[in-house]
């Protein structure tokens, strides 16, 4: 690397550092999301991401949202057409503000999956707590564990436990593929 490039790169790293400080970002990961990794990060959440003075219920919710969202990526991530590997690549970012924690994930999805996810999340975002409880009960009674190992309950459960609407968007990346960004917020007060 020539000197000027290296200086620019170091400036970039410094700007990442400053952004992380200002957004209170505690954890960033980009790469293949495996079950082993989920176990490791889940352990980390229990011990060092949440503040010890946050109520136990809040710490458990951060743990829960992390597990559910990462398992979503590891089970549902769509293979990039270019890639020949069956990798579940993605990014996730855990941040803390005075009022809440946020967990943001990003991964590639097909356009068919985009439609499915938008419909689901839009529906869940507009439901009241009692409607969410009813939907959860219907789904747990009538649903089945899919071949991919999900029970169709993750988003419903996160939304009803946190009480916060999800933020989500889809960035077009190539033909029929989108980068799906999803954020769940966990208030720090019960």
């Amino acid at each position: 690397m020539v000197q000027t490039d290296n200086t620019r790169f170091q400036e970039f790293v410094y700007s990442v550092y400053k952004s992380m400080k200002s957004f209170e970002i505690f954890l960033v990961y980009e790469g293949i999301i495996t079950h082993g990794l989920i176990k490791t990060f889940a352990e980390l959440t229990e011990t060092s991401i949440t503040k010890p003075d946050d109520p136990q219920t809040i710490q458990q919710r951060v743990f829960h949202v992390l597990v559910e969202t990462l398992q979503n990526i590891s089970k549902h991530s769509d293979e990039n057409e270019i890639s020949s590997q069956k990798d579940s690549r993605g990014i996730f970012v855990v941040a803390r503000s005075p009022g809440e924690y946020s967990i943001t994930t990003g991964n590639l999805v097909t356009s068919a999956k985009k439609e499915e996810i938008s419909t689901l999340l839009n529906n869940i975002n507009h439901l009241t707590r009692s409607e969410l409880d009813n939907l959860y009960k219907n789904q747990i009674l009538q649903g089945h564990v899919s071949q991919r190992g999900g029970a169709g309950l993750g988003f419903i459960d996160i939304r009803r436990k946190t009480g916060k609407k999800f933020d989500y968007s889809f960035v077009p990346v190539e033909k029929n593929m989108y980068f799906f960004l999803f954020t769940a917020f966990i208030p720090r007060k019960l």
Binding site: H35, T57, Q60, E68, I140, G154
Partner: protein
């Protein structure tokens, strides 16, 4: 039939199923990579137990965490026990939860509303 004991791992709970005494216990965490694969021997064991159950069945749940896929399987376990209860056997669920974990307390209440079995809600 044989007793079943599955030791705890970092992502799966400890499970004790004693067919003689009718005492069952599930404790720890449940977020296995393949929830169906992990629980299928347990569900098969329970199906066999239903054919020749003990007079009294007492099931302790003392989970510190379970993911939503596991929550579906826990319901499958409870629905099997509900069958036993409907056949006139004594079945009791003891739902233990950390006293500062609201969501684990709520999960016990929700299950007790879905299945028709006596539930004790026990903070610890």
């Amino acid at each position: 039939m044989n007793m079943m004991h599955i030791p705890a791992k970092e992502d799966t709970p400890e499970i004790f199923l004693n067919p003689e005494t009718g005492n069952f216990k599930f404790s720890g965490r449940s977020l296995p990579e393949d929830v169906s694969n992990f629980y299928s021997p347990v569900l098969h064991w329970l199906d066999e137990y239903l054919a020749s159950p003990a007079e009294n069945t007492v099931v302790d749940f003392q989970m510190s965490y379970f993911n939503t896929a596991s929550s579906k399987i826990i319901l499958d376990i409870l629905l099997r026990l509900e069958k036993l209860s409907a056949e006139g056997k004594n079945v009791r669920i003891r739902w233990h939860y950390p006293k500062n974990d609201e969501d684990m307390a709520d999960a016990g209440i929700e299950y007790s509303e879905i299945v028709d079995i006596p539930f004790d809600h026990l903070p610890y």
